[in-house]
Amino acid sequence: MSNLIKNELTKIFKKKGIYITLIVILGFIILTNCIYKYFYDDGDYSYYSEGYINYVNEEIAKLDPTKPSDTSLYIELKTTLDIYELLQKYGEHSWQAQVINNQVFTYITERNTYLYGIDKNEEKVGEINKEIDTIIEKLDQDDWMYFALEEQNTAEEKIKDLEEAIKNTEDKQQLESLELELTNAKIDLEVANYRVNKKIKYGDDYLNIALNSYGSDSKSLEQMKASKQDLSYEEQQEYNSYLKNIATNKYVIENNVDIYKQNDIRGIFSSFFNQYGLFIIAMVIIVAGTIVSEEFNKGTIKLLLVKPYTRNKILIAKFITMLIIIAFSIISAIVMELIVGGIFFGYDSLSIPILEYDFTNNTLLEINVFKYLGIQLLAQLPIVILLATLAFALSTIFTNSAVAIALPLLGYMGAQIINVLAVEYNVKFMRFFVTLNWDFTSYLFGNLPMMEGLTAPLSASVCIAYFVIMLIPTFIVFKNKDIKNI
């Protein structure tokens, strides 16, 4: 048996095909790393594009602020222009930009309402303008801590007010909404405290993104907790994602590490199969789809079949060879990424762990990049094995390499569309369809699978059933195949 496998491997590695495939994959890996390094846009978006501002200018010229029907739109557009003007001064990516977008925005909207709205109030306008001037002064002084402390104070005061209000309220419904408001205020305070204590300057870097989403996710979670209704499956999934994001963002804030960074070697490894899965699968399928059919087409199968081995043994040897090629493809893709990624980004980022939230005991796990990669690949291995088995079965049954390569590739690409549709419209019977079951990553760490009713044992049974259903006819056909004139 082992000598049969050895021979199969010799045949594969003496052919040019496998090296051409490897070179193509290497080329793709280099290209991917290159794009991540030089073109990756890390949420670097513009609030207001020039085109948009031109449009706003045109629109505002058409409006008459004295006409009651135009007033509210006029105020909105005018505010946009005012904000834009302010942003131009500091740049869209300055720390000031965030303050302007959050805090100054409310002031300017208020001022414009008094200036152009129905209840015009010169006095109020003056007051607000004074406040805006103070803010701008602080912005000019680069004093971001002022705003952080301000946020802290506002939250503290709000909490006091709300606690007072709760004491004096009897109405149950009102009490509930007040309590929710109180939790929100407490979250605001927590966020403000983090900013002050960790000295997180405003901006649009990962710390600010983590801090902001920490706040908003915490609020959403509290709201879900407060609602008395049973959660639907989608809501449970949402609930879980809040749990995970809150814990992860808290980790980011407390440890000051950029967990979400995509454009380095760690980022690419964290989504390895998504990046290179198609190439690994293509390489495996090319081998699996030709390993039997090519010998039939070239007539060399006769050499094998008149040797003192049963046909079952010959086919098993070829199947095991295919499994070895799967391991080879995955390992060579990892090695190539390790080399290419190292050249592009260096290896420093590999020391940062990957975070996963364990839903079974609600803890955040820090996982080494390579351990994480191993777990992910193991969980996604059924995809590769099942597709390769399909190619192998077609290759043996129809002895047609083109069919044996094209169909599994089509299947892999089609699977992604089918899965989305099945989940979107909650097609129950699709639970027994292989493509919804072959990715075990969603069962890791106690998370909820993408569709209600899917469980790890069900998925394992479905995968094994498909595997066996594909292999049995393959062996029967191969055993009984007459060698026609070639």
């Binding site: 000598n3 040797k307 003192p308 081995y309």
Partner: protein, 263 residues
Amino acid sequence: MELGKTTTIKLILGLQKITKGKVQINGFDVEKQFTKAIEKVGAIVENPDLYMYLSGYENLKLISNLYHGIDENRINEVIKLVKLDNRIHDKVSKYSLGMRQRLGIAQAILHRPSLLILDEPTNGLDPEGIKEMRELLIKLAKKEKMAILISSHNLAELDNLCNKVCIIKNGKIIESSSIEKIKNEVNSEYKIFEIDDTSKIKNLLPQAILLSPNQFKINLPKEKTPEMVAKLVINNVLIYGIMEDEKSLEDIFFEKTGGNVIE
């Protein structure tokens, strides 16, 4: 010409399912004890299909891995035997048909089989190649003590090479015995006489078959030959030569099969 030669070989080698009857090699049934039956068999079926992208040596190495006890020495010995020493490390895709045929034989005899099965081994070879192949096969039979089973429609070739023949017509064996026996059986005692003018014997020997203006054929037992010679000499017929009319395998084939009729 689909007379069932290749099919027979495929049945023997287990490449096609046997619908009726059975095949035994060394006492082992091919269907029931395939690996034991095939262990001592080497074969080329149809064309010598080898791995074109490998060198001749790599091809032999692959085959040698599938049997126990074939070492480098045996491989080199076989390479020498089939006279491929000079080109053995070239890719098979660069080989001529004759070289491929020889490499095919090399892979079939690596494990010292007791039965070598060849399907039209001289097909497509040039005259020199045919001669070399014939010498090789005779050498194998004598030196390596192999039984060689050859299928062919080149009867002259088999006549030169074989001890035993088996004639198949429309899938049925219609003759199976040693060549000599068949020939003796078929050869009546005809003699061919070469003389000056056959018109002289028209009345003298009415039973003679005229072959040409100076050749005729006649059924004549050995012991009656001197008598016939005397008779001719007396009648002033000049005798230039007397030959035995030996039939070729080809003649026997057509006699037995009645020509190539596919029913």
